[in-house]
């Protein structure tokens, strides 16, 4: 029993250690550079949406002119 609980605590301990050592983009959030990524992604999204809107308008115009 003692052995088992020892193994359990050891496992728990390594899990906690691991959880703290997981490399995340913490630095990126601290110095704000993650916002650069968001800006790039939003620009691409805006470009694609603009393209769709223009296409939609064009098709609407064609539908009216037929």
């Amino acid at each position: 029993m003692k052995k088992l609980s020892f193994t359990f605590y050891f496992l728990l301990f390594t899990l906690i250690i691991n959880a703290q050592n997981v490399n995340m983009a913490d630095a990126m959030k601290e110095n704000g550079k993650i916002y650069v990524v968001i800006a790039v992604m939003l620009t691409i999204l805006a470009g694609l949406v603009l393209y769709l809107v223009r296409l939609d308008r064009k098709i609407s115009r064609l539908e009216k002119n037929k």
Binding site: M41, L45, R57
Partner: protein
């Protein structure tokens, strides 16, 4: 622009996904690290694909009931955009796996023999190929009525193939994906934190709405084209 409130909603949901998806607190998973945020992009592609295929299936049935060619065109275009989403899901999955699933003792190329056994990859490949065959079959028939009827019937078969290939078999076998043989992938409350689901569900809706928008544009274009031909 026609009936645009849901298009605006879709765009707003995607803007929210892009901002919140990168900024919210995510679980610190030692294997995934920050790539866990791919849930809002990669997984949403597959959800969008399933929803678009369901719409395609419904329009195929509507064609068979009414013989209205608009349903046939719609069914074809929804399937096309669904395949696009599936291919994007495959590509994004390939990028994601080469950073999280590879055996660190081997090269990416040599780890592929274990990854290729992943049932979800095989199932999704079968589903996409079955739908690709739908496009080939429908578009290769010249007669417009025959094309629509055979296409619609095959579409129903293709949809039936989705059940074993992406909904049943991957749930029965062990998998590298979360929720392999013991549960529901992606929608299982255990595999995504409450925080993440706050972004995940709007992301599914946003991506799907964009897919529907693209499909409606293609449908309207095809209808214009057919009218031009018949003049």
């Amino acid at each position: 622009m026609r009936k645009s409130w849901w298009k605006i909603l879709g765009v707003l949901l995607l803007v929210y996904t892009f901002i919140a998806g990168l900024l919210i607190e995510v679980p610190r998973n030692p294997q995934l690290q920050e790539t866990i945020r791919n849930l809002f992009f990669h997984v949403c592609m597959w959800f969008g694909m399933m929803i678009l295929f369901i719409v395609s299936f419904v329009r195929a049935i509507m064609y068979l009931r009414t013989n209205n060619h608009i349903h046939d065109i719609a069914s074809r275009q929804y399937a096309g955009v669904g395949i696009l989403f599936g291919v994007l899901g495959y590509i994004t999955g390939a990028i994601w796996m080469s950073y999280t699933w590879i055996d660190s003792n081997k090269s990416v190329f040599n780890s592929f023999d274990t990854i290729a056994r992943e049932p979800k990859l095989i199932g999704a490949a079968i589903a996409l190929l079955v739908y690709a065959a739908y496009l080939v079959l429908r578009d290769s028939i010249q007669d417009i009525d025959k094309r629509a009827r055979i296409g619609a019937v095959y579409n129903i078969f293709a949809f039936a193939m989705l059940f074993p290939s992406i909904w049943i078999i991957p749930r029965l076998l062990d998998s590298l994906h979360p929720g392999g043989s013991e549960g529901n992938p992606a929608l299982d409350p255990g595999s995504a934190s409450a925080n993440m689901r706050l972004v995940f569900y709007p992301a599914i809706a946003g991506w799907t709405l964009i897919g529907v928008w693209i499909a409606t544009l293609k449908i309207r274009m095809k209808i214009l084209y057919e009218q031009k031909l018949s003049q």
